[in-house]
């Protein structure tokens, strides 16, 4: 696959508070996922769980630019996007455990975490389900006349779903403030994106629809942040849709329980050592003197406490009442 990846840049509009906040969010996602990996192995977590560990720079690099009134739609691998858009970590953990205290009161689970009030339109169990919905959110924002944007995250696999192509076209035809962020983590389940993405480049495809498109290193928070900044300000000022392709990797299997025999030996080990978005972010910001190690350690402690307490609370929380089976189907019926 040709690498037209932009050379990472640390020159950035971010002030110190922004950097610390970005770190906190990436770290929160990472520890959230690492912990779920552990709890799932114990058998405490039901259903299909898809972990985002390794891809944190994508969600945070993009969402750092967003306001509460902006929208995002996510995928089955949605925990990172939810946290980056501000969804409550306790509520998310409880949801993944299927408890009444979950953001969806235990009725949705990992694949359906959403919080419309925060502009989080939902993780989605349907690959490619998000882009059309994001066109709609973008349309609503455009009709409202403000500067809102809506962003659809899709994977390399989802980039082959007709809904994604149709949405690129519709967003361009209607000149919507919509952005598609393709997270190409190399695999759709056990199949390589080298195999399934004809031409190998979602950026090239998007240009075919007339969308400005770039491919960036999804491990590099600053590269993602810069590309997202350009696309988002273009969208906010009436410049229409764009696509950002993030080349990245996932640290765990497609879902928990995946033996991953389709991956090369030590593939993940090497990645963690050399391309980890969080350690690279820490190194870059410390080397540049922008941040003190102690400041990051303080954040780490807070994150660990948050995750710990969220798991403890989720474990103790009650399951939904039996009556919940029949509620929330309709507003009125």
């Amino acid at each position: 696959m040709q690498t037209e990846t932009q050379s990472p840049s640390t020159t950035t509009s971010l002030d110190k508070q922004d950097l610390l906040e970005a770190y906190r969010q990436m770290k929160t996602i990472r520890e959230f996922e690492e912990r779920i990996h552990v709890e799932f192995a114990k058998g405490d977590i039901p259903g299909f769980v898809h972990l985002y560990a390794g891809e944190e720079a994508c969600a945070v690099g993009v969402c750092t630019h967003l306001n509460r009134g902006d929208y995002i739609a996510s995928t089955h691998r949605g925990h990172g996007h939810c946290i980056a858009k501000g969804v409550d970590v306790h509520g998310m953990m409880a949801e993944i455990y299927g408890k009444a205290t979950g953001v969806c009161r235990g009725k949705g689970g990992s694949m359906h975490i959403a919080d419309l009030d925060l502009g989080m339109m939902g993780a989605n169990g349907i690959v490619g389900g998000g882009p059309p919905l994001v066109c709609g959110a973008a349309l609503a924002l455009k009709q409202a006349g403000g500067e809102g944007v809506a962003i659809a995250f899709v994977g390399d696999g989802g980039s082959n779903q007709g809904t994604t192509f149709e949405s690129m076209n519709l967003a361009k035809v209607w000149n919507l403030p919509a952005i598609i962020v393709v997270e190409d983590n190399g695999y759709a389940e056990a199949t390589s994106s080298n195999y399934t993405v004809a031409s190998g480049s979602n950026a090239d495809r998007a240009r075919g629809f007339g969308l400005p498109a770039v491919r960036v290193d999804g491990h590099d928070f600053f590269a993602v942040h810069e590309a997202a900044g350009e696309a988002i300000s273009r969208a906010r000022t009436g410049g229409g849709p764009s696509l950002i392709e993030c080349k990245v990797n996932r640290y765990y299997g497609h879902f928990e329980g995946d033996a991953q025999t389709y991956r090369g030996p030590d593939e993940v080990k090497k990645l963690r050592e050399t391309r980890d978005c969080i350690s690279n972010f820490a190194r870059q910001t410390i080397d540049s003197g922008q941040i003190e190690p102690s400041e990051l350690e303080a954040i780490d402690r807070g994150v660990m406490q948050l995750i710990e307490s969220s798991v403890a609370a989720a474990r103790q929380a009650a399951k939904p009442e039996a009556a919940e089976l029949l509620t929330d189907v309709y507003v009125s019926y």
Binding site: Y71, A73, G102, V103, C104, R105, G106, K107, G108, H112, A114, D115, L116, D117, M121, G122, N124, G125, I126, G129, P131, P132, L133, V134, C135, G136, A137, L139, A140, L141, Q143, A144, A150, G162, T163, E166, S167, N169, L170, V173, W174, T327, D328, V329, Y330, V331, S332, Y333
Partner: protein, 345 residues
């Protein structure tokens, strides 16, 4: 209310009045205006059969032509609904649900439940259904059973201009996703329709003809063929009560059950195919909840288990007509229970 307009005009008027009343109401679909990007007129079509004509000149960019990308624009209507709009999106023919169904039944229908109540999707999907126009197998189906099967969706199937307007306004104001079926053979039907805005509640069937001998439950265009059959039968002294369901989801179970409790006989008439359809749905409801009142087998009059044929003579045979409906009603009247049937265990 002396004014008479067509079914098509009633729908157009409902859209016009709601767009005028509520700025969040949007209309989108293929050629709902027509003429976008051309050398000629805008609003050239107003939808394939002209139902939305006149809205674009009046409401401008709140009436949006779309590419032929149903998943994207139906999905966009749904997404916009969750973001505060009240889109009315046109899926030109219900036969095309297959290219956008996921957005309807996995997304719109399930958001509220999956999200623990924290979502609302006030979208209306208008779509043309029904056979009779020689439009063949992919443009003539009546697929409301598929949507009725899906929890989270509401299904509206109006049979008169009056109901078309009142039910569409209700659908637009309703906060759940609604699929609104427009039978192509009804567009030119005329009827009295008040000029002012009004609503008809969901889940209220209408007794369009009273009678004490046989209950005929039906919907859409079949309502008129059922009345025709009932009028024929009346000449032979058989009085049929004809119930127009108007909405299949929610369903007005009580009206159906009460009627069968008084007549003891049921014929269900549906233009759709027979398996897992509305005819079986109503039959099962009655066999479970009004069994004690039934004096004879429940008869179903539906299309056959075949696609819709093109040739006019075959298509006419495909659709239930007054004769078949009357024959079914006669057969339930003539039924004589044998001994075993009348003894309870």
């Amino acid at each position: 209310m002396a004014r008479t307009i067509t079914f098509k005009q009633a729908i157009n008027e409902a859209l016009d009045q709601e767009m005028g009343r509520d700025p969040t109401v949007l209309v989108m679909g293929e050629d709902v205006a027509g003429g976008q990007g051309t050398q000629g007129e805008m609003d050239a079509w107003g939808g394939v059969l002209g139902v939305t004509k006149g809205l674009h000149p009046k409401y401008g960019d709140r009436v949006m032509d779309t590419p032929i990308s149903e998943s994207a624009f139906v999905g966009a209507a749904i997404g916009a609904a969750t973001a505060g709009m009240r889109p009315v999106v046109e899926l030109m023919f219900n036969d095309f649900l297959g290219v956008c169904f996921d957005q309807i039944y996995n997304q719109a229908a399930k958001f509220k439940y999956m999200f623990g109540g924290k979502a609302q999707t006030p979208v209306v999907i208008r779509t043309i259904c029904g056979a009779g126009m020689r439009a063949a197998a992919q443009h003539s189906q009546s697929l409301y059973a598929i949507f009725t099967h899906i929890p989270g969706l509401k299904c509206v199937v109006p049979s008169t201009p009056y109901d078309a307007k009142g039910l569409l306004i209700e659908s637009i104001r309703d906060n759940d996703p609604v699929i609104y079926f427009e039978h192509k053979q009804l567009y030119q039907m005329e009827g009295e329709v008040p000029e002012e805005s009004y609503t008809i509640p969901m889940g209220e069937a209408q007794i369009v003809r009273e009678g004490g001998d046989v209950t005929i439950v039906t919907l859409g265009e079949m309502v008129h063929r059922s009345i025709q059959a009932a009028d024929e039968l009346a000449k032979t002294g058989v009085e049929c009560e004809v119930i127009d369901l108007r909405t299949t989801s929610p369903l007005d179970e009580d009206s159906v059950i009460e009627s069968v409790e008084s007549t003891g006989r049921l014929v269900v008439v549906d233009e759709a195919t027979p398996r897992c359809g509305m005819a079986t749905d109503i039959s099962a409801l009655v066999a479970q909840k009004a069994f004690g009142s039934l004096k004879s087998p429940i008869e179903m009059v539906t299309a056959p288990h075949t696609p819709v044929p093109f040739a006019d003579n075959l298509e006419d045979l495909y659709k239930p007509d007054a004769n078949r409906i009357a024959a079914a009603a006669r057969s339930v009247m003539e039924y004589q229970a044998w001994a075993p049937a009348s003894s309870s265990s």
